[in-house]
């Protein structure tokens, strides 16, 4: 069980799955750079969180609901939670762009569900991801695999933050190209991470060997 001041943001799980280094840069080193992608994501979120709670055909819709899980040590906010008549609880998360190959979005949604389950002592068997580019909902069942993935990511992020360790960069064109922290991270420079000293010595010798 975690204490309330040990909770980490649910968004950290997503960062971790995208790139552990990105997660450490944001949550350990607290470096934050906003690029177009994150800026657009925020505008979209502001829209989803905006507006009052409402009821539609007996479904109560709550926006920006704060949730936490002391078991997993997570805290965050649900974009939208629908409470259906008959007791079905359905979290919905809004995403810019389209479904991704990694499971970060599903993990985030499932983490919200696990928080809801703990707080409401209810079961939340599935949720929905809404992708802005496709303009449609995708149903996500929270199976045992996904739940394990959430728990494992939560443990990994807690370890990372406790140790204050930033994993080294592995440069990957596609991933790093879309990363908001590219300029801070400088993954290309880290190619030399075990050789910065050697590089400096060599370069110094080269510069000095130039004739006067």
């Amino acid at each position: 069980m975690f204490g309330e001041d040990q909770l980490i943001p649910i968004s950290a799980l997503q960062h971790w799955l995208y790139c552990p280094r990105q997660c450490a840069l944001i949550h350990v080193e607290r470096a934050w750079a906003e690029n177009r992608f994150t800026a657009e994501g925020r505008v979209m979120h502001a829209r989803a969180h905006d507006g009052p709670d409402e009821s539609r055909q007996g479904v109560r819709i709550t926006r920006g609901l704060p949730v936490r899980s002391l078991r997993l040590g997570l805290a965050g906010e649900c974009d939208v939670v629908e409470f259906h008549p008959g007791g079905r609880i359905l979290p919905v998360e809004y995403k810019r762009g389209k479904p991704k190959s990694h499971r970060a979005d599903e993990v985030q949604l499932c983490a919200q569900a696990l928080c809801l389950e703990e707080m409401l002592s209810a079961s939340v068997p599935g949720g929905c991801l809404y992708y802005g580019e496709r303009r449609r909902r995708m149903e996500i069942p929270f199976d045992a695999d996904l739940r394990d993935l959430v728990a494992a990511a939560a443990v990994a992020v807690h370890d990372c933050i406790r140790d204050g360790f930033t994993p080294p960069a592995e440069y990957e064109t596609r991933r790093c190209g879309a990363c908001s922290l590219l300029d801070l991270c400088q993954p290309q420079a880290l190619r030399f991470r075990r050789g910065a000293g050697a590089w400096f010595g060599q370069r110094l010798r080269a510069v000095l060997s130039e004739e006067t």
Binding site: L190, G197, T212
Partner: protein, 346 residues
């Protein structure tokens, strides 16, 4: 008003900066002069005594990580606004730990000084090549000094203490300044230099250099701030309250390559002449107010030149160099790099 390197320079006295949605709006005498989205900016630098900013803008800037700094019309730093210090506590702790550890400090400082001396040597060799044909005597003086500096660079690698590093650096610096006059071509005989004098500068060339070093120091200080390092805790320069020791450390590698070369260009092209200086009763020589503007303009211009960064192997503007080196230093402190790769010019 001008944008450069994602910094907005506001030079129009009487300007008022305010928040307009997600942008900064610059108003002057009731008119909107410019709007710039905040997310495109790293900093806003105001040069003038009568420039103001709204609290709402400062809050938005603090949140977006945009610094707002205020300078005199001549560029002297006055104050800056910022939000809460961001959570780089681990980085800062590591910085303090290393600064308390002499061997760790020596390792960083030795690279900084090696780069400083190598870059100074490059300036001498470049002049020897460019002007040497006309004056073999000058070329040989420059060449000898360059060789002497090369020897000192070799010694740096073997120095085990900060004091010995400082001694070696001091020797090399006096060698460098002893031939500095040979870098001035066809110059006004009144524009002279005899060794380095700082407090106060005792000749026009020293006055010009001192002014440029102040500009450079502020760039280094901002660069360190923006990547979460404490500009006051140095490795080579000792702590002294109020002294930006790490900024002084960082600027070493850029003195010759950035500041000295701007000074030489201005003097050799006669864009700055004896008439641009005045001598105070004490013998101190000062750059006149109007001339400072011209130096500032030349400095900004130089910062837009581009090179391939030797370590990153990327095309970058010179203005970005202090920022990139500050980041590399932070990377070294965090353990991503096994040494600090100081900037070595070609």
């Amino acid at each position: 008003m001008k944008r450069h390197l994602n910094t907005l320079f506001v030079t129009l006295d009487g300007s008022y900066l305010r928040k307009d949605g997600a942008a900064v709006e610059i108003r002057h005498e009731g008119e909107t002069k410019m709007r710039v989205p905040l997310h495109n900016l790293e900093g806003i630098s105001c040069f003038g005594w009568d420039i103001g900013a709204s609290a709402a803008l400062m809050a938005a800037c603090a949140e977006a990580g945009v610094s707002i700094s205020f300078h005199t019309p001549h560029g002297k730093f006055l104050a800056a606004t910022r939000g809460f210090t961001s959570g780089n506590i681990l980085l800062r702790r590591e910085q303090y730990r290393r600064a308390d550890d002499e061997a760790a400090s020596v390792a960083i400082a030795a690279n900084m000084l090696a780069a400083k001396l190598a870059n100074a040597r490059q300036v001498l060799m470049r002049a020897a090549r460019d002007h040497g044909g006309k004056s073999p005597e000058r070329a040989s003086a420059l060449g000898q000094a360059a060789d002497a500096i090369a020897v000192r660079i070799g010694l740096l690698g073997r120095a085990g203490t900060l004091d010995s590093l400082r001694g070696i650096e001091g020797d090399a610096a006096s060698t460098y300044f002893s031939v500095f006059r040979h870098l001035l071509v066809n110059h006004d005989p009144l524009v002279r230099i005899s060794g380095r004098s700082r407090r106060p500068p005792l000749d026009p060339v020293n006055a010009l250099l001192s002014f440029l070093y102040v500009l450079l120091m502020h760039d280094c200080r901002s660069a360190l701030e923006s990547c979460g390092l404490d500009p006051q805790c140095g490795f080579l320069h000792r702590d002294r309250p109020g002294r930006p020791s790490l900024a002084l450390d960082l600027m070493e590698e850029f003195r010759a390559f950035l500041a000295d070369r701007v000074a030489l260009t201005l003097l050799n092209r006669k864009q700055i002449t004896f008439a641009d200086f005045r001598t105070a009763e004490s013998g101190a020589v000062l750059l006149k107010d109007d001339s400072r503007k011209q130096v500032l303009a030349a400095w900004q211009e130089r910062k837009q030149d581009e090179i391939i960064h030797p370590f990153l192997d990327e095309r970058v503007t010179l203005g970005l160099l202090p920022h990139l080196q500050a980041r590399l230093l932070a990377r070294h402190l965090r353990g991503d790099l096994d040494a600090y790769p100081a900037f070595l010019s070609k």
